[in-house]
């Protein structure tokens, strides 16, 4: 199918984009990389009156850092992040995950802001950002606010973003030594949306789990942080297999969302396998 008719604007500065987004009488959508919005429009799931294309707004395409954090503009593409030495050095987890996000032709267009504003529960980046304790910056014509990534994602394709707001940047805290991390996902085909996946992060300079985060994806309506497992892991040695096994058992107490192809029990099994393999990666 083809998209229904719409009007199109290509603003060159953020302020104009925010003004356009503020129209209350018509249905306005921002267009980032379009790698999910375009198919949704082709299927006519989405039929905006006005599309505000953000691709000419250079101020949203920057990657900056100070001593505490890296700030990634919302219009930074996956392929830009892949090439960034700053990201490679400070948050290697991002570089490790990007090859699993779709395929190169999609990564050449898809943006970090688009992915998180869409909030597909099976996508890598929403959960990745929760595992790194990132903060999402949002703007409307009145000003700026920041939301913790954990609070930003509220359900399937649902976020805390209001229709007149734009995700402008993602701030990720950086530590003196980069966090250790484990990542694993189960997919039908390389690059497809995951059937289940897991992120584990922990302080990089310790042999024990410390400030760990455990986040599962594609098994719930949103990134699923499991604090019970984090509390259990903290203080235990990273390479202790029995600790890993007991951590995985905690998953048995959780309910998961099934989907078209996998029921809740299958999702639980995939979640356990993903977490086991993500934990196994921590010592690599």
């Amino acid at each position: 199918m083809k998209a229904a008719s719409f009007l199109y604007e290509l603003p060159e500065d953020l302020n104009t984009a925010l003004q356009l987004l503020n129209s209350s009488d018509i249905d306005v959508l921002p267009l980032a990389g379009g790698q999910s919005l375009m198919p949704m429009m082709n299927f006519r799931v989405s039929q905006p009156d006005l599309l505000v294309d953000l691709n000419k707004i250079d101020s949203l395409k920057k990657i900056d850092s100070d001593s505490n954090s890296i700030k990634i503009g919302s219009m930074v593409k996956y392929s830009d992040m892949e090439k960034s030495d700053l990201i490679k050095e400070k948050i290697p987890l991002i570089n490790n995950v990007i090859p699993f996000v779709a395929h190169s032709a999609i990564r050449n267009r898809g943006t970090i802001g688009g992915s998180i504003a869409l909030a597909d529960p099976a996508a890598e980046f929403p959960s990745l950002l929760v595992s790194l304790d990132a903060t999402i910056e949002l703007m409307n014509i009145k000003g700026t606010r920041e939301v913790k990534s954990e609070d930003f994602f509220t359900g399937i394709f649902e976020t805390d973003r209001k229709t007149n707001e734009l995700v402008t940047s993602i701030n990720i805290p950086i530590n003196k030594s980069p966090k250790k991390f484990g990542f694993y996902e189960i997919t039908r085909r390389h690059g497809d949306y995951a059937m289940a996946g897991a992120f584990v992060t922990t302080d990089g300079d310790k042999k024990e789990f410390s400030n760990s985060r455990v986040v599962l994806f594609a098994v719930s309506t949103k990134p699923l942080r499991i604090i019970d497992i984090e509390v259990f892991l903290n203080g235990n040695l990273l390479n202790d297999v029995s600790v890993q096994e007991n951590a995985i058992d905690i998953i048995n107490g959780y309910e998961f969302e099934g989907d078209l192809h996998n029921d809740t029990e299958a999702k639980k099994t995939y979640a356990k396998v993903s977490l086991k393999r993500a934990l196994g990666e921590l010592n690599g």
Binding site: K2, S5, G34, N42, S79, P99, H103, A105, N108, R109
Partner: protein, 158 residues
């Protein structure tokens, strides 16, 4: 605000200027307005890879891009692939290894293969498979395609 827009694109070295409806996908503009029917329309939602082509040196899904977004860019479709260099070697190699049957996926497959070789991709079948994982082929079973890209990679790209 408007639902039409005038764009100028360079396709395979020729400059085209057209006023088009903003809802038109790039692939439909190339095929219907300009006659470059070599690039194929498959799934129209970014999964099959048949419409993959090169814009400013990067592969994109031309079904997931509006034609108006291509304003000012240089596009290379299958019709514009040279007979020498990486593109020529791959075309030859695809023919030699029987890496196509119906040919529907081939324009997109070649775009991805060219990207792989140009990025310095080495003769590693697992990596080649991963790189073309975004391109469906329903005839060959992929073996011959992997072999074709592998043999070009093995010879150092060109």
């Amino acid at each position: 605000m408007a639902d039409t827009r005038t764009i100028t694109v360079n396709v395979n070295g020729e400059v085209h200027t057209n006023t088009i409806n903003v809802r038109k996908n790039l692939i439909d503009y190339l095929r219907d307005d300009l006659g470059f029917t070599g690039s194929h329309v498959g799934c129209e939602h970014g999964v099959c890879g048949a419409c993959t082509l090169d814009i400013n040196g990067e592969t994109v899904r031309s079904c997931l891009m509006l034609a108006v977004q291509a304003d000012g860019t240089a596009i290379t479709t299958i019709e514009g692939l040279a007979d020498n260099g990486v593109a020529g070697d791959l075309k030859k190699s695809f023919a030699e290894k029987n890496a196509l049957q119906c040919g529907y996926c081939t324009p997109g497959m070649l775009a991805s293969a060219i990207e792989y070789i140009n990025a310095g991709g080495n003769a590693d079948k697992d990596k080649i498979r991963r790189h073309i994982s975004g391109n469906y082929c329903r005839c060959t079973g992929y073996q011959a395609i992997v072999e074709a890209i592998y043999s070009v990679a093995e010879n150092g790209g060109n």
